[in-house]
Symmetry: C2
DNA sequence: GGATGTTGTAATTGAATGATTACAAGATAG
DNA sequence: CTATCTTGTAATCATTCAATTACAACATCC
């Protein structure tokens, strides 16, 4: 199409509007930061994952830190907006109102953090409490979720604790890649099942299928 | 004592047996790795925290990675040994046998991860699932805890899930330094209290006291 | 009291990496 | 057609940092 030399090998990177390229970089950065951590990730790895050159990544976001903060803000935003949407859905009052809403929120959460980039970017932020900027964002985000469950969802304290605790355990089991060793150690799958009591078979089905496919 | 020049300013670093120095380095490394992560921490920071020179740190452990693995192994070991000790304690059978044991284990866990180095080293390991060596250790450690609760403590699945989930939530709230903003945002303390339902007032008291002192 | 082992550091090196600069090529307006 | 803006890269710089080397001071053994 737009090649001038007939047998060009390395395609000269399509020209793409900055706004769109920005999204590509953020998506790539989410994965790379998630895998290697803020310090462990390099702007060059992000660039390669996004299919562009390293200087372009830096110029687009100014510094590596600003890029990371943007990735984190996006992840938190998706989480909060997603939850708020579900809570806003009309629901009829009843005995199991809280339980049902918790299940819906849980499913949404699972959907979200199956994106490993989002999961790990969030967890990276959790352990950056010492960093004034990142730490403050992590605390603020966590508190906003708490207030949402308390005020908008109307959860009683025990339901909040259980919901958050289960979420953090799920985070951890996914982060350590427990499903990766389902076939090596049956206890791994047992722990995963024990964690979800079948109430989230969707996820388990997906990850187990992945594992089976890989075996 | 062993000063040759009377007015020596920079003390020439006391000679200490290698084994003891090793422990000092491991203690310092636990803190530094916990705060900055594996990639973010430098051997020089560890050295300074331990009060020795950077090359000595490297020579003692060969590489930075080996040092980190040793720190992680220590943390996991303290956790596992500590739990096993409590489980082995004689206890009379009864209705609340599991609940009581869970409370004891919880208290021990809290004691342990109040050492921020241990808390964060463990959490660093959790999000290193992609790293073959660190990831494998994290998975193995988590599974060992699971088996201990199931086989040695005799916990039913629900008790295991609840125990682990509460632990992970506690990890997270401590990691993001929620107690640091108790005085800025009353919801922070409320979330912390909601999380523990007063069953672990020891901890809350300690961190609140810290915060008050700082205010 | 010399030889050997242990405990330590200063100086340096080589690689990695975030950031900058300078430049090129395509699009768009006048 | 020329000027300008946008989208992109190659080359390079300055810094950081893990690791190495070479050496010094103390201790212990014969």
């Amino acid at each position: 199409m737009n090649e001038t030399s007939g047998t060009a090998a390395a395609q000269p990177t399509e020209r793409i509007p900055a706004a769109e390229r920005r999204e590509q970089i953020l998506a790539a950065a989410s994965v790379v930061f998630g895998e290697r951590g803020y310090s462990g990730a390099t702007t060059d790895q992000v660039a390669k994952a996004a299919g562009i050159s390293q200087p372009y990544v830096v110029r687009m976001f100014g510094t590596k830190e600003k890029l990371f903060l943007e990735v984190l803000a996006r992840a938190l935003d998706r989480l909060i907006v997603g939850f708020r949407q579900i809570i806003a859905e009309p629901r009829e009052p009843g005995d199991d109102e809280v339980e049902l809403l918790a299940a819906r929120l849980g499913a949404a959460y699972v959907d979200l953090i199956e994106d490993r980039g989002i999961l790990l970017s969030l967890m990276q932020a959790f352990i950056s409490g010492h960093n004034p900027v990142v730490g403050a964002k992590a605390r603020a985000g966590f508190l906003e979720i708490y207030r949402m469950l308390r005020d908008e969802a109307g959860f009683p304290p025990d339901a909040i604790r259980e919901f958050l605790a289960d979420g953090m355990l799920f985070n951890t089991l996914l982060a350590i890649r427990l499903p990766d060793i389902f076939d090596e150690d049956p206890d791994a799958e047992e722990l995963m099942r024990c964690t979800f009591r079948g109430k989230l078979d969707v996820v388990l089905g997906a990850t187990a299928a992945e594992a089976a496919e890989h075996a």
